[in-house]
């Protein structure tokens, strides 16, 4: 790349998102699109291979195999720890899917927040996958043993409660911490983008009652108790009602729910503020500005918001931008950009 900004232009299905996704994959070792490597490898191929050379002259390579197992290399040396690979290509993605962040399903907001936490603490991925597995096992337990609930059944539920309470506590706290770090940044961006008309509050509505204070044990025991006391209801509904899988994040504009009462334009501005806050937070923590990946999203913004985003990003961040038509961009975006037509 010869310039800070790269516009990738091409018709649908030609591979624009692929290019951006490969940068994301090399930078974070995960894709926002899929959690399975199988989905990332071309049909009928046994493996996929990615290679990037950074401006610091680092050469990063990643090999995905259909049979499973990844191999990563940095400067031709095999790398076994995630941490050694993540860093040179740290990036923040912004896709058309994110535009639904405010009014879409709560799971979209949870995934967004999880991606932020993962940037801050890679170990979080272990907690998330552990919780998902616990939940699946627990729901299966209900399905299989519901008809002959005996002493064993209760004892097994107890065993799940203990683990779920611990993992839930840790997930809740990390999500809470990440939100409180994003809060001031997002609010500042919202004020700037709305010319001081709107304040933004990120309100965490946890899927369990959380105790005040910092002590983990009290937190945990309280969730254990809640899990226990919802069992009658759980039996009736067949699913667990307590935990981070029921978390919700509310966006309040001047104290009012933006999901319910915000205009379409306000909702888009909130998404912009959130992404800019994420970009700033990641940059702040790692002392280096992350790469911004704008996948088919810039053209979705009206001219005013395009310009606001351009102004906000400035020349601080390297940007990879994909779109079907060059005409969709405001003149200022095109100027000073490298254009790649596929």
């Amino acid at each position: 790349m010869t310039k800070k900004r790269l516009l990738v232009i091409g018709s649908n299905g030609i591979g624009k998102s692929n290019l951006l996704e490969s940068v994301e994959l090399l930078g974070s070792l995960r894709s926002h699109r899929s959690s399975s490597d199988q989905d990332l490898i071309y049909w009928d191929e046994k493996s996929a291979f990615l290679k990037a050379i950074t401006s610091d002259k680092d050469q990063i390579e990643l090999e995905l195999r259909r049979k499973g197992g990844r191999k990563a290399y940095k400067n031709e040396k095999i790398v076994t720890r995630q941490i050694d690979l993540i860093g040179p290509l740290r990036c923040v993605g912004f896709s058309a899917l994110d535009l639904l962040l405010v009014r879409g399903e709560p799971s979209l907001r949870r995934h967004w927040l999880d991606r932020v936490v993962l940037q801050l603490e890679p170990i979080y991925s272990d907690l998330i996958s552990r919780f998902a597995r616990l939940l699946r096992q627990r729901n299966q337990l209900w399905r299989r043993w519901q008809d002959n609930a005996d002493e064993d059944f209760e004892a097994l539920l107890d065993a799940f409660d203990v683990q779920m309470a611990l993992v839930s506590t840790r997930i809740h706290r990390r999500r809470m911490r990440a939100l409180s770090r994003l809060q001031p940044l997002a609010d500042a961006w919202q004020k700037r983008l709305s010319k001081d008309a709107e304040g933004l509050k990120l309100h965490y509505v946890p899927g369990a009652f959380l105790e005040e204070g910092e002590e983990e044990l009290r937190f945990r025991l309280s969730i254990e108790k809640q899990l226990f006391s919802q069992r009658v209801e759980e039996r009736r509904l067949g699913s667990c009602k307590i935990g981070p899988h029921r978390d919700e994040i509310e966006f309040l504009l001047n104290g009012v729910s933006a999901r319910r009462f915000g205009s379409a334009g306000q909702q888009r501005t909130i998404v912009l503020s959130l992404k800019l806050a994420e970009l700033e937070l990641v940059g702040e923590i790692f002392g280096e500005n992350p790469i911004l990946l704008l996948d088919d999203v810039l053209a979705e913004l009206d001219p005013i918001r395009q310009l606001l985003l351009l102004e906000a990003v400035g020349h601080k961040h390297q940007c990879l931008i994909s779109a079907t038509h060059l005409e969709a961009f405001e003149g200022d975006w095109k100027a000073d950009s490298q254009i790649l037509e596929l």
Partner: protein, 166 residues
Amino acid sequence: MLRQPEEKIKAFADALLKARNQVGQCQKCFHLTAEKECEICKNNSRDKTKICVVADSRDLLALERTREYKGSYHVLGGLISPMDGIGPELLNVTSLVERVTKEGSLEVILALTPSVEGDTTSLYLAKLLKSFVKVTRIAYGLPVGSELEYADEVTLARALEGRRDI
């Protein structure tokens, strides 16, 4: 295999068949054995007041290779996993409780993997046994000889969790 002489292949096949027919499970601990009771259960110099619970015979062999443990074992035959239809009734749990009460064990050591299924099984067994015997669990930590810097975060976090006074 095609290039090998026929007798060799035949001997190999016979050995496999023999193993298939002869190897069974120990009546006491469910470890693999060709006899009624396995070598470990028969060995009188082993400490029978301690029972180490493992998921399968491979885990038992790994522990044996350390030559550190002198107690007896109990092979569960798997881990509790509702997703795979495995509940406690499909594992050698009842026999474990019977052994503990009959043999007057003093300690049950749970040596199961720290996965969701392993932890569920450990917690379940602990609850079941803890009223009449001391139940402990092996610690999870850093492999010896590995430098702290090279340990992954999950291992480090678990090691930190299982820390103790020195």
